[in-house]
Point group: C2
Chain length 336, copies 2
Amino acid sequence: MTELTLIRQIRTQAARQRSKSLALGIGDDCAILYPPAGHELLVTTDFSLEDRHFRRAWHTPESVGHRCLARGLSDLAAMGAQPLAAFLSLAVPAECMHATRTRPAWVERFSNGLLALAEKHKTPLAGGDTAQAPGPQALADLLLLGSAPRGRSLRRGRARPGDLLYVTGALGGAAAELAALAAHPRRFARLHDDAPGHPHLFPQPRLAVGQALRQQKLATACIDLSDGLSTDLAHLCEESHVAAEVDAQALPLHPLTAGHADALHLALHGGEDYELLFTAPAATKVPARIAGVPVTPIGRILRLRRGGPAASLISANGLRTPLHPAGWEHFSKSGK
Amino acid sequence: MTELTLIRQIRTQAARQRSKSLALGIGDDCAILYPPAGHELLVTTDFSLEDRHFRRAWHTPESVGHRCLARGLSDLAAMGAQPLAAFLSLAVPAECMHATRTRPAWVERFSNGLLALAEKHKTPLAGGDTAQAPGPQALADLLLLGSAPRGRSLRRGRARPGDLLYVTGALGGAAAELAALAAHPRRFARLHDDAPGHPHLFPQPRLAVGQALRQQKLATACIDLSDGLSTDLAHLCEESHVAAEVDAQALPLHPLTAGHADALHLALHGGEDYELLFTAPAATKVPARIAGVPVTPIGRILRLRRGGPAASLISANGLRTPLHPAGWEHFSKSGK
């Protein structure tokens, strides 16, 4: 498969998707989009680098494609936005373009994974660039455009002292599954489809929850959990100029953390859960489920004190310890 | 320099630039943009890969940064758009982040080159992603957003038989300078600034020309010359379902092609001139200069005949030969 056939193939796969916001897709100097009237435009980009964000020996190509897009969709979810279009820049070593009579090329399976998630969230693939990678590693840069009514996007910097702190879904599952994948990659070699219960291989961006939080004016601030609760909470506190405390006992542990001696550690620092962390005034009645996803209160926002920690953890026996950001640096700690 | 300092530094450099369309730059889950009311949104992405689009041994870091952005700005120019914002995803080997007491880091000089061109065209750097490259090569993915009044963007596919074919500036200069650079890289080692007369190292995207063509309704179709006249003309013909003929004698050769036995070849197939190729009805009075840039008629659009070539070249003695797309594949032919 040459670069041109690769582009044509992705274009054909992408053409299945239609959107009224996409006036002109792949094929001119630029793609043309019509954002909804009265909306502001949201933009997020994410690099996915082989051996840092994924490994071809561990992750199925479908999982890599899914994860590339999930990261950006989760950023849009955190702002309460709806996706408009995705743009993929993909550089792969030559062997990734080779198909055999019985096995499709790596890139084809990668696109299948990416486009399956795109279709699920009505996100047309509107363009991008492809190239042979200069080195032996594959890499993808994914750009996502989204929109939300002007001035209404959820932001990180608007949490106020007295707000309660909530998290969607369960925590630590992605880190637990990554540990299992690292130990026994072959067990996961057949996971081609966006199957439920695979928080690392097929994370589910919380777009419907984010949109509901925005529409129902429930959240004061919101961020997605990509780097880990401790790190992302630190970002939220820093941007909002507040402190926070988290009740260790309240954290919703993912079932995959069962049996892990360090389940709490995975939930606090594991990262890549792609759940939403948000704040709401104590007087706001936040439902226990939003868009079918469980929502759990896990702590509260406090006034920032000079010299005090931005975030604290309160353990079962009432002991308070500083909660330092110790987010998972993807493979820098786990893989190599 | 760690990745975080790299991000902070680019953020600080980028913060110098302000734009009324950019509501929120680097620092939340997404950047927020306000495209002008009644405008459509244009999006283009370009990968710049070391050893394919640039070489650290040949190009100064400032030139690499400039060229990364120039490619996308030229795409916007071809559609008559104005830039809204740029997003940079940058992956570099560790040594590119090292500064010494006397020498700034490669990435700092790269950003300087990119931001100087961004400032010239009032394009804020609104976000992006940075990472250490998995291999020894640097690479950048640059995304550009632009806008134009809804339905008024210039397109490739609207040339009609009878239209005349025009080109801006001069041709072959980028290929001629690349040949000189490959032969004597040291001679170019001090080219840090966006100096005029360096079509390969510091190409000048024709944004003002593209906007004038759109505003004055001069052009029926437009494309930028990134792959070379023969290849980009083929794209324009294909998308417009027309044929074209080019008068070899009419081609405006760049002064740097002087002394090259194959000057015509460089002008036809050299690529990376980032000039505009456009069509206008024969009755339209196209000025000899637009926004200070010379504009030259070089041929005409014909009806597409079954079995005939899409493009032909008419030489000085009136001989007509098929003009096949033979665009420069960047370094695949020239450099290695």
